[in-house]
């Protein structure tokens, strides 16, 4: 049986398009220092470290060793994990596993990226099978565009529905001091922004950011002493799927998210996620995914998401606020993006989310996405599992 484990500290850098004032190790250290401060700990208290990013983005292939200056791993166990877009949640999950297994009591998990080091879209393309789809796949935009095209056709959703998601997340980011893009926008701004891949426009798509995030996990017995209101990990679930983009035949759905969230709800005893979850921090790489993937999270039936979005159900003052932080549409240091989802969900549980705090959060859900097309789900609560 796993040990009960909670998040007791969260640290984030500020995020922007490029940090020329720090190198990668120094960037990592900013997040680590803040997480330690948040938990009232020093490096002496850390038993093990897990770190991850998209290593081809910086062309540094042994981040575990290379990062020691910033991560604090000198003479400590550290391991690197990388799983694409989901890396941040994979690293967070490993932090949880380290503690839950009973091998370590207090563990530091770090996600980071300096996207400014390279051409993100060209680098991301290396995820594709080199002989088959790599030539025109070229990054994350095209496949996401093609799946929303299919969704529009099947359910009568509109480009404006996606724009509403973009407006929600961008404007939520105004309340988040860590967010990269903090500009108030309107549906008209989104609709007028340049088309990248029809139907996805510039303001529908996440930016590339430089930044880092660190989380501290602690075991039962220590967690309660380190945080007045620890964010207890109730469950983590993940699903992976196909190799080729043509293989899944339901482009209107995200099957990995359906399966992962269904498994997570079952383990957490959730039967009506719309009512039982207080806030969601979702890895939405494009606003279009904030429409169609809501159905894959079981908060509504097929084709019903556009109506809920038009009604504002997922706005800050709605029934189920989504992305109070602004989500990846506002901030996207890729190897940290999914960890920030977990961190922001934890802040909501701990009541430390500042201007972006949703009142009375008892249950929070975070997701991670990587193409093609992986999903991870984490559920946190203010009570022990």
């Amino acid at each position: 049986m796993a040990r009960r484990t909670a998040i007791v500290g969260i640290g984030q850098t500020y995020h922007c398009a490029r940090r020329d004032d720090v190198n990668g190790q120094e960037l990592i250290n900013e997040a680590v220092t803040r997480a330690l401060e948040d938990a009232g700990l020093t490096m002496k208290d850390i038993d093990a470290i897990v770190i991850g990013n998209m290593d081809h983005f910086e062309a540094i292939n042994y981040v575990d060793g290379w990062s020691v200056d910033g991560s604090g791993a000198f003479m400590r166990p550290i391991m690197k994990l990388t799983t694409g877009g989901t890396s941040g949640m994979t690293v967070a999950t490993a932090g949880y596993y380290h503690v839950a297994s009973g091998f370590f009591d207090v563990v530091l998990a770090i996600g980071w990226e300096m996207n400014s080091s390279s051409d993100t879209t060209a680098a991301i393309t290396t995820c594709c099978q080199p002989l088959i789809e790599r030539d025109f796949f070229a990054g994350a935009i095209g496949p996401l565009a093609a799946e929303y095209t299919a969704y529009i056709k099947r359910f009568g959703a509109t480009e404006e529905d996606a724009a509403l998601v973009s407006v929600r997340d961008h404007n939520n980011a105004l309340n988040n001091p860590h967010a990269h893009l903090r500009t108030r926008i309107t549906v008209e701004d989104v609709m007028k922004s340049p088309v990248l891949c029809y139907p996805i426009k510039l303001l529908d798509m996440c930016p590339r950011s430089d930044g880092a995030c660190a989380l501290i996990y602690a075991c039962e017995g220590k967690a309660e002493k380190l945080a007045p209101r620890p964010a207890w990990v109730h469950t983590i679930a993940g699903s992976r799927d196909f190799v080729y983009m043509g293989e899944p035949f339901q482009h209107e759905e995200l099957i990995t998210l359906e399966r992962a969230s269904a498994r997570a709800y079952k383990r957490a005893g959730i039967t009506d996620p719309l009512k039982e979850i207080d806030v969601m921090e979702l890895y939405l790489p494009a606003s279009t995914t904030g429409v169609k993937w809501m159905e894959s999270l079981w908060v509504c039936g097929r084709g019903e998401a556009p109506r809920l979005i038009r009604e504002g159900v997922f706005n800050m003052d709605g029934q189920l606020p989504v992305n109070p932080s602004g989500g990846p549409l506002a901030t996207n240091p890729i190897g940290a993006t999914a960890m920030i989802r977990v961190g922001e969900a934890a802040l909501q549980i701990m009541g430390k989310a500042g201007d972006r705090q949703v009142p009375n959060v008892r249950t929070a859900l975070a997701t991670a996405f990587g193409s093609c097309s992986w999903s991870d789900v984490t559920i946190l609560r203010d009570t022990k599992p």
Partner: protein
């Protein structure tokens, strides 16, 4: 890049006292297609035919073919000759250029084509098409390059029929 300079770092830029170094790592790779994909690629090259492969357990016909069914974890060996026509399941129109990766200039369309007798879709370029009037569900046919070398792009694109 200037001739004769080392390839890893080729420029240093001073941005108000913060130095950034511009570099490039060029690493040649040799990617094995394997027995199964080789047969598919040879089919494109020598026969202008598209071959799929059927899973003995779930009966799914995969194209591009692969050795292992990801659902059943069994090896596949039953080859299926597919038609060169199919249905455009979904598509996008790319408006940005990624010159180091894209084989053609934007704007261009690519999509998922479900060929006759196949159960999975094949991602490919859509050509000879009025991009503004492309529609899901329309029939498309493979157009092969005159010079073929055993590459996925031996199919030049799919065009509306």
């Amino acid at each position: 890049m200037p001739e004769g300079k080392p390839e890893t770092i080729f420029d240093v830029v001073d941005k108000a006292g913060m130095l950034v170094q511009k570099g490039r790592i060029k690493v040649p790779y040799t990617w094995a297609a394997g027995k199964v994909a080789s047969k598919f690629l040879v089919g494109l090259r020598d026969e202008r035919r598209i071959y799929g492969i059927r899973c003995p357990e779930c009966k799914t016909v995969f194209v591009p073919p692969k050795k292992l069914c990801h659902k059943c974890m069994v090896e596949m060996s039953e080859w299926v000759e597919l038609g060169d026509e199919g249905v455009l399941e979904t598509f996008t129109i790319v408006h940005y250029g990624e010159p180091t990766v894209h084989p053609v200039q934007p704007p261009f369309a690519y999509g998922v084509v479900k060929l006759e007798r196949a159960d999975t879709g094949m991602v490919h370029l859509i050509g000879e098409a009025d991009l503004a009037s492309l529609e899901e569900g329309q029939r498309v046919r493979a157009v092969f390059n005159d010079i073929r070398r055993g590459h996925y792009l031996d199919i030049k694109y799919f065009k509306p029929v």
